[in-house]
């Protein structure tokens, strides 16, 4: 069952084309790693899917609902972590999560149950009563993730969910995504390539707004150029990094 779909998505800011004809589908059970260099258009694509930005051309669907034409139904099924995990700085963690739950139409008992679960899963108990402006970067990110999960959505769009987390929390987050995966369609953008091998069933690579690759991590690995054993690497790279560099730099024509 296809839960996320973009069809020939184009997003222009003035004369600048940030997303240039991107089409892909994500089915239930898939975890798609969304990769690409800085400024490739990952966040912009995610914003369009979430319905925050209107596409210049093409369309995006969440659980079959057009995110522009049927926005409320689409958003009901969507959990979205925007880039940078924004949250109201003047609210406490608890008040903020309760606000989001209420805005999503969850009843008081459901909210209590869901938040209880998430607090344990994402380790938020110690900061529950603290104001968000006083949180460390990692905790802020975790609050953002809790916010995206509060209504147990079918679709998760997470923009750099592990950015700023410590190694233990990164591991926890990956495990969390793995446990959620079977029942959801998940798209995660990341700059950490091991993450793709660890949790993603598929990887999409974009560069300069164009889709460069859409296949399993193994197939992407196969696109890594052969290494010349004569050249000593100053900085050691993994094969996946080689593939990423090859695919994305090729688009820049260098």
């Amino acid at each position: 069952m296809v839960l996320v779909e973009t069809r020939a998505l184009v997003k222009r800011f003035g004369a600048f084309t940030a997303v240039d004809g991107i089409s892909f589908k994500v089915e239930r059970g898939e975890v798609v790693g969304f990769l690409g260099p800085n400024g490739a258009g990952k966040s912009t694509t995610m914003k369009v899917i979430a319905g925050f930005l209107e596409p210049t051309e093409g369309s995006a669907y969440v659980a079959g609902h057009d995110s522009q034409l049927d926005p409320v139904a689409a958003r009901q099924r969507l959990g979205y972590l925007p880039e940078g995990a924004p949250a109201y700085p003047d609210m406490t963690v608890g008040a903020f999560l309760e606000f989001v739950a209420a805005m999503r139409g969850l009843s008081k008992p459901t909210t209590r149950e869901r938040l209880g679960e998430l607090v344990e899963r994402i380790d938020l108990a110690e900061v529950w009563g603290r104001r968000i402006e006083a949180l460390s970067k990692g905790f802020k990110r975790r609050v953002g993730i809790a916010q995206a999960l509060v209504h147990d959505p079918d679709v998760l769009i997470l923009d750099e969910p592990t950015d700023g987390l410590d190694p233990n929390q990164k591991h926890e987050m990956r495990e969390l995504i793995r446990t959620l995966a079977p029942n959801k369609a998940i798209v995660v953008s990341t700059h950490i390539l091991e993450e793709v091998e660890a949790i993603c069933t598929r990887a999409i690579i974009i560069a300069r707004g164009k889709l460069m690759a859409d296949s399993t991590p193994a197939e992407i690995l196969a696109r890594a150029p052969a290494r010349d054993p004569a050249i000593q690497q100053l900085v050691r790279t993994t094969p996946l990094e080689d593939a990423f560099r090859h695919i994305t730099l090729e688009s820049a024509g260098s």
Binding site: Y80, P82, M91, M103
Partner: protein, 244 residues
């Protein structure tokens, strides 16, 4: 609970999250009291009414309401929370109305804190309390109009200072609309109907009719329509930014 009410509650509490709310309330009371007693000579008038108090409200609100309204959307855009808010399963108008209501309630609170003055007037003489009540309602509606304009301007930028300046300029147009100075500048080249239309947008004109205690229904309708229109524009402004 309705989504609008949830937004209202969060936003209203937001005003009190910083000392700014207290500062604002103190400034509002100090300035309005100062104008009432020193500029309008409340006591020398020897009249038991509150006209000296209400007289200055259009000018006071011109600056104070943009100060309340400037953060409504600009702050969300600056901090990125707008992305969160606008991807919740709610209609933009629910957010727009909820936010405006919070600002309006805050303005209402400031206005309510002037109640001691009303009590004093009753203690000193026997004013027409019906007129005073009408003045309060009119003043509050005018504050709502300034706030709706401010909220609308705030939706266009992520810079609160710009939002403030834009709202003051827009408000100034409405305050000045009734002045002969403005009308005289327009009259030579514009058809009569345009001159009348501009004159009829005057905040001061409508507010004066309310404080005079006559003919207040059309004036109330004017402010209410203006609020509705500005909030509608606010929704359009949010929509336009999506396509930007």
């Amino acid at each position: 609970m309705s989504k609008t009410l949830l937004v209202f509650r969060r936003e209203f509490a937001g005003y009190f999250a910083t000392p700014l709310a207290t500062v604002f309330l103190v400034v509002f009371l100090a300035v309005s009291a100062g104008m009432t007693f020193f500029v309008a000579n409340f006591f020398d008038r020897g009249q038991a009414d509150m006209n000296a108090f209400f007289l200055w409200h259009p000018w006071l609100y011109l600056v104070l309401m943009p100060a309340i309204g400037m953060r409504l959307w600009a702050e969300e855009r600056r901090s990125g929370t707008i992305e969160l808010l606008m991807t919740l399963p709610v209609r933009p108008w629910q957010l727009v109305v909820g936010k405006w209501l919070a600002a309006w309630a805050f303005a209402g609170l400031a206005l309510a804190l002037s109640a001691p003055l009303w009590i004093t007037v009753n203690y000193l003489g026997s004013p027409d309390n019906g007129v005073i009540l009408a003045c309060y309602i009119g003043s509050w509606l005018m504050a709502g109009s300034f706030l709706a304009i401010s909220a609308c301007v705030s939706a266009l930028t992520k810079n609160q200072v710009l939002a403030f300046i834009g709202a003051v300029v827009a408000g100034f147009v409405f305050v000045m609309a009734g002045f002969d100075l403005v009308l005289a500048a327009v009259r030579p080249w514009a058809p009569d109907i345009v001159v009348q239309a501009i004159a009829s947008m005057s905040f001061i004109g409508h507010f004066q009719r309310i404080t005079d205690g006559v003919l207040e229904v059309p004036a109330l309708v004017f402010f209410i329509s203006l609020i509705v229109f500005a909030l509608w524009l606010n929704v359009q402004a949010l929509d336009a930014r999506k396509a930007a």
